[in-house]
Symmetry: C2
Subunit: 402 residues, 2 copies
């Protein structure tokens, strides 16, 4: 007998029919002799509807009250799923975040889980109940309801799996696993059987929206066996774990990220402390900088280019303009017409030819590279957005990922 | 400085505009230097919508899961009202039933409040916060969410007022007070300035749907100063308290109850134990019997008539028919075409002429009385339904209640 945590997103429980689809998956797992803990998100558009209700009354409500409001979404879905499972004739109980004992910090609307007091949950499992848990929510030291922010339900599921030492944490989504690249771009993209946490992290942060980074980080930290699969096809998904057979495939997947803007600061005086000053300025406003490229100084001047997300572009430019005198640069340029293409694979570090092979594919397709960034398991290039899909295809072919 | 508990029903917070209307009443009370605790019900049709969602999945869900679902309705309204009050620039915090510490028994969907641990609430009041509390809900010894059943939010408000030793508990409804009778029947019905708990109890149980009985009983038990008023007109309402000036008005109000059916069991053997047998039979099935009339035995036979609510009629008849042999009666007759008209007033007991005056009014209008029932503060008569409104009018005139 295994203990399995299953997580279902909002679209998986959007209406009565889908709720029963989930109820069937859950009860099939239970019938197979497993203990089952189910984490559910709010139904379909519930969260958006609640946000609209709030905005009608107050454009900028306190985050505490917003969490009080939004947490009802998951509370509705857990009770409905429990009712569906009751209807199928199985013992079930639903629990909210505070009932489960998901303790978080007090950073309303974007809380971090501190610990899980799973006494109540364990008691329900001992009684042979299927336990339905509200994802995305917790309780802080003041006894107030908090929410975990984007990807919160994934994080709830993985945290519960870690706390309960579950044998497996299944994340059900509307895709049936992790692919070598976006199947909408490359038709013969292949589904991966396995992937490491690190690779998953790189792919997630690069725009392969399957699992939220926070949940993967937590999975890695507590070594939770995770699995991504579809609630509709029930096909075998992709296992996410610490180590996979690295020899077999150096490049695991290719990701495209179009939410990228490049800023270039030109004619900066070539003295120490410039980069420090620029990036501290941006960090203070929580603007995340991705690829950074600094030219070699020439004639006492240098250039610094870097990328930010498109939503952060405007504020980054404003900050840089306001501080033109302190930074002391000549001019500022920027573009949104760039995309980041990345190859990810844990085996890459020991295979020096990988980056070169990627560049070769791009050269053959006459695609110009703007910027390059590398990590132990990733090579990213910044290219013209118009050529992004083509780039993904030629690299996919080059590495024979189909 | 006073501590005031204000309760607003679902229609008072049905949309954004009404939420702001309530926010204005609350903040005006706060601005006047009072500490304010606000109890809110679920918005307009929210509860019905949630019930419909549940029924789509399971016709008879467990009451525990139903309470889990329905309690989200009040959680939504408290957060929205808090956001409106934030918008008006006042310090506010919303609290659910479990956060307030409303401890109940485990009779899901119809729980009774056991005690209120108001430590958190008091702490918020000490911080000069306006406190918005979710009505209708509590928590049981297992840490599960419970709901209080019909009239639950009124009960929450009165219980909180009692626990906090509030100076006043204002119940805001869509009527602006308690009237001498239904203003839809008698145009010149007068609004009462004051009424006793006992009178209010009799009026509530007789169909004057202003306050739920449970809340009035609790108000009486803990001697809470209560007040019924309208959230729309803000007019001075009706004070409900332990003692009012009894000399001033013997008859406080007139109530009509049309949800009445009369059953007559004729030709029962005139031996001891018959009434016991009949009413035990009905009590076992939770069928409430109201007026009972037993004829004097004649020729070794007697008749027993009594009233039940119309919803209970069918089951009562079935029970009596099934037990015809044990009860040993000749025949059964029944009618739904009856209404109960009652006059209520705490001063009645010391004024023997009151009942006679009521009967005189009915005689003058040629209205026949079927059955009569009296208590210390009430006289009820059963009459033909078609004449019920007329009866209310002539009695109202007779006692000069306008």
């Amino acid at each position: 007998m295994s203990l399995i945590v299953q997580k279902f997103g909002g679209s998986s429980v959007a209406d009565a029919e889908r709720v029963f689809n989930v109820a069937n998956i859950v009860t099939d797992t239970y019938k197979a002799g497993n203990s089952v803990v189910v984490v559910v998100s709010a139904q379909g558009d519930t969260t958006d509807d609640l946000i609209a209700k709030a905005k009608e009354i107050n454009e900028s409500p306190s985050k505490r009250e917003m969490d009080m409001l939004l947490s009802t979404g998951e509370q509705i879905s857990i009770s409905l799923l429990a009712m569906a499972i009751e209807k199928l004739g199985f013992p079930v109980v639903s629990l909210t975040g505070w009932q489960v004992g998901v303790h978080t910090d007090s950073n309303y609307s974007n809380s971090r889980i501190r610990k899980i007091d799973h006494e109540r949950l364990q008691k329900e499992l001992d009684k042979k109940n299927i336990v339905i848990v509200a994802g995305f929510q917790g309780i802080n030291r003041y006894g107030d309801i908090t929410t975990l922010g984007r990807g919160g339900s994934d994080t709830s599921a993985v945290a519960l799996a870690a706390a309960l030492h579950a044998d497996l944490c299944e994340i059900y989504t509307d895709v049936d696993g992790v692919y070598t690249t976006d199947p909408r771009i490359v038709k013969n993209a292949a589904k991966l059987k396995e992937i490491t946490f690190d690779e998953m992290l790189e792919l997630a942060s690069l725009g392969a929206n399957v699992l939220h980074n926070r949940s993967v980080e937590m999975g890695k930290k507590y070594n939770v066996n995770m699995c991504v699969r579809s609630s509709l096809t029930r096909a075998e998904g992709t296992i996410v774990k610490e180590v996979v057979d690295m020899e077999k495939m150096m490049v695991r997947g290719i990701a495209k990220d179009s939410d990228v803007a490049r800023i270039s600061i030109c004619g900066i005086e070539d003295t120490p402390g410039k980069a420090f000053r620029i990036f501290t300025l941006l960090a203070k406003k929580s603007i995340n900088v991705d690829i950074i490229l600094q030219s070699i100084g020439r004639d006492g001047k240098k250039d610094i280019s870097f990328t930010v997300t498109e939503t952060n572009l405007e504020e980054a430019l404003r900050l840089l303009e306001e501080n033109k005198d302190t930074i002391a640069y000549e001019n500022l340029s920027w573009t949104k017409d760039v995309s980041k293409i990345s190859i990810v694979g844990a085996g890459m570090v020991s295979n020096p030819g990988v980056a070169a092979k990627m560049f070769e594919a791009l050269y053959e397709a006459q695609i110009n590279i703007n910027m390059i960034s590398t990590s132990e398991i990733k090579v990213s290039v910044l290219i013209d957005s118009a050529l992004a899909d083509k780039a993904v295809r030629v690299i996919h072919d080059k590495f024979d990922l189909a």
